[in-house]
Every structure is written in C-alpha cells, then in structure tokens.
Amino acid sequence: MSTLGMALAILGAALAACLAGAGSAVGVGLAGQAAAGVVTEDPNKFSKVLVLQLLPGTQGIYGLLVAFICLSNIGIIGGAPAEMSLVKGAMYLAACLPMAIAGYVSACYQGRASVASIGLVAKKPDQFGKSMIFPAMVETYAILALLVSILAIMGVGNASF
C-alpha cells in the first residue's frame, strides 16, 4: 500500500469539501449582507430574501457529498483503508477536482447573482419567482461538476491499478 497514494486521495476529498464550502461561505455571506439590507427596510420580505440567500449554499453540500463518497471509497470512513497505489490516489484527487473548482467558482458567482436578485425583490416583490431563476441557473454548473466527480470516483474505485 502506498501512503502517498492514500494522502493524495484524502487531499482530493479535503479539497472538494473545503473549496466548495469556502465558495458557499463567500456566496451566502454576500447574499446575507444584501438580505439584511432589505430586511432592515422591510422585515416582511424576510422569507423571500432568505431563500435567495440560501441558494449559493448548495455547493458546500455537494462538496461534502463528494468528500464522503471519496472517503468511503478509500475506506477511511466505514472500514479499513483500502490498498492504494500512488496512481490510484492521484486519480481520486483528480476525480474530486471538478467539484472543488467548479463548486468554489459557481458558489461565488451564484452569491453575486443572488445579491442582484435580492435587489430585484426589494424593488419588485411580485417578481420573486423570476428572481430565483437567475441565481438558480448558476447551480447547473455545480450539479454538472458534482455528477462528473461522483462518476469519476466510482470509476476509479472499480478500476484496478
């Protein structure tokens, strides 16, 4: 068993959780500032802006999911660590990167889109449905990255190196 291979696989899981989580923290924080601004002026809009604030938070959950699957596959969670070569470890790391990178970037930009939508709700509360669509579009790319990461981790897990 290669210790370095295992370290690389854990690094991949850590990056998926940390970067996607950091992106979500930035996005939710930014949207939270705007939401607080709107609620200061009109507390009745709390529920609407809260939904918009939460939208950039999903990347953190996706990152966590990818990290769990990866850690579970390599045996860190729920069993003994599996035999792993350096190449296999590097492949786990590569498999986690789509979620880590796309998660971080999409969460930051989704936060900005949420801030803009919160501004829209502040001025036109009746357009809440439409305002949700704009930040939700950014979510697409986080979901694509999630799928790629999960499929890649499964594929690496089934492969023999």
Binding site: Q33, G37, R112, V115, G119, K123
Partner: protein
C-alpha cells in the same frame, strides 16, 4: 472581493428607492390646486417628521428631507469621504457667507448651510480671527484672497468669483481623485455647466474678458479660453462654440433662459446615473441615490414655490426635472 463591497448598503438603497418620486407622482403634485394641498400630499407620501406637531413650512420640509438622506448614507458608510464632492458647494457657500458677514460686520441671520464637510462655525471663527490656517488646505488661499478683495475693494462680485471658482476646482479635484465613474462624471458636468452659465451671464451683463478668465474653472469637456473669448463676443459666439462640444444639445435651452439650461444639465445628470439602478455593488448606487434625492428636493422646491406664488402650471412644468425612477 473589493468589487463586491457595499452589498448591504446597496440593498438598503434599493428598498429606499421605492420611496423616490416618479415622473407620474411629480405630475400629481403639479396637479394639486394649492400650496397647502401640495404640502399635504407630500406629508401623505411620508415627507416631513411624523413626530413633529403641525404642518411644517416648505423650507423645514425640504431641509428635513435632505437631512434624512445624509443620515441614511451616514448609517450605511463608515467613511463618508467619497461623498464629500456633493457637499463642497455648501462648504464654499458657507465660506462666502462668513466672509461677507465679517466684512460687513453683520450677525448671522441663518444664511449658513449646516450640511457641509466643514463646520460652519469653524469657518466663521477662522474668518473672524483672520486665522486662515484653521480652514482645510484647499480653502485657505481662496478664503484669504476673497477676504482681502472684499475688505479692500468692497467688490462683492470679485469675492464671489474667487470663491465660486475655488468651489468648482475643489469639486473637479475630488472628481478626478475618485475611482468611481459616476462621481467623475458628476464633477465634470457640474464644473462644465457652471462655466457655461457663468459665460452666458457675463455675456448678458457685458463683463470683460479678464473677468471671464478669472471666473471660469478649467475642465476636460470645456475649453475655458475659447469659451471666455466667445462670451466676450456675444451669445451667438457662445452657441457656435458649444455646437462643437458635448453640450451642443444645450444651445437651444441656453438661448431660452439660464433656468432652462440648468434643467437640461440636471436631466443629463439623471440620465447618466440611471444605469446605477442595475448595479449591485459599489458606491455608485449610493451616489446616484444622493443625486436622485437632491433632484427630487429641487423639483419639489420648484413646485412649492410655484404654487405659493400662484404661477401657472406651464411655467412650473418648464422647470420640472426628469426623475430617477
């Protein structure tokens, strides 16, 4: 993440923009039958202090609204210095008032504007004590020059042009120092329109070329040397000169009257700040809100004074500005 600053402030401004007057609402104000009815409508729209007893005067109402705007901006920004550019005109007005009070040995009869970057008492005391070092650096030299001019020559107009030019230079300098395009545009347009108004007024009153050169503040969009020369030749020459500048559209307004030209400049400013309604970060939307409120207050002042003096609606409408929302 510097480019994502002011998210909280901009969101609050968005919510407050709902209270701004639209063109339609201004028409409703204009349609009121009397000054009292107009005042009552403003109170119904949330203007004035709800806690205050009785109906306020127009001046109390308008100054109260201006204070509300600055109180909101003060709440939203720890550092108010980016917005100083909007208050320099008040500072220099106070400087002019202080010099005239001291030189004519008159008591303050409420001519100071409280809303400025420098306390008006500090300005008054500095002039009284001839201690010009008490004033901020850019105000010192013009204060000293204007004080000497007024005390030695008793020429109030000379005092005015020295301070007015210093005010324009301070605004332009603040605009150039700002990294916000809206503030840069505001500074440039303020100085250029003031130069054009001064040139037109000097032309009508037959002022000398030397006087014009002294009064006009150089800026990017107006060549003051050419404008001064044109103003010394006549209104036609000013119009010819302006045709080749960014202010070609203002020629017909300038030929109508100074107030029509002023209205054109204000509308140009409002049109250029309208895109700020779609900005979600930065000081741009805050600066635009300040200008929109000033524009609104100016428009309401026109309507109220028109109603008070029983002017026909058409005469008031001529002076009505375009609204931000």
């Amino acid at each position: 993440m510097a480019h994502t600053n002011y998210a909280y402030a901009v969101a609050r401004i968005r919510a407050n923009e709902l209270q701004l007057f639209s063109n339609q609402l201004v028409e409703q104000l204009l349609a009121t039958k009397s000054y009292d009815e107009c005042l009552r409508m403003l109170l119904d729209k949330g203007w004035g202090d709800e806690a205050a007893a009785g109906i306020p005067t127009a001046e109390e109402l308008l100054s109260g609204e201006r204070e509300k705007t600055w109180a909101l901006i003060g709440e939203l920004c720890e550092d108010m210095s980016p917005f100083d550019v909007f208050l320099y005109a008040n500072d220099y007005h106070n400087l002019k008032a202080a010099i005239k009070l001291v030189c004519t040995n008159t008591d303050d009869f409420g001519i100071f504007i409280k809303n400025g970057t420098v306390d008006c008492n500090r300005i008054l005391n500095a002039i009284k004590d001839r201690d010009f070092y008490e004033l901020p650096d850019p105000m010192r030299a013009p204060a000293q020059e204007a004080y000497s001019a007024l005390s030695q020559t008793r020429d109030g107009q000379l005092c005015d042009i020295i301070i007015d030019r210093a005010a324009l230079e301070a605004i332009l300098s603040a605009g150039s120092a700002s990294d916000n395009s809206l503030i840069q545009k505001y500074a440039e347009l303020t100085v250029a329109s003031a130069d054009i108004k001064i040139a037109a007024r000097c032309c009508r009153t037959g002022k000398s070329l030397e006087f014009l050169r002294r009064a006009l503040a150089p800026c990017r969009t107006v060549n003051v040397t050419l404008l001064a020369r044109a103003a010394s030749e006549g209104m036609e020459a000013i119009a010819d000169y302006l045709e080749g500048t960014d202010y070609a559209g203002a020629v017909s307004e300038l030929q109508k009257s100074a107030s029509a030209f002023e209205c054109w400049c204000d509308n140009l400013m409002i049109q250029s700040i309208k895109p700020q309604q779609y900005e979600v970060f930065g000081i741009g939307p805050l600066a635009a809100y300040i200008l929109a409120r000033e524009n609104e207050i100016k428009t309401v002042r026109m309507i109220l004074s028109g109603k008070l003096n029983s002017l026909p609606d058409a005469a008031i409408r001529e002076r009505i500005r375009e609204m931000y929302v």
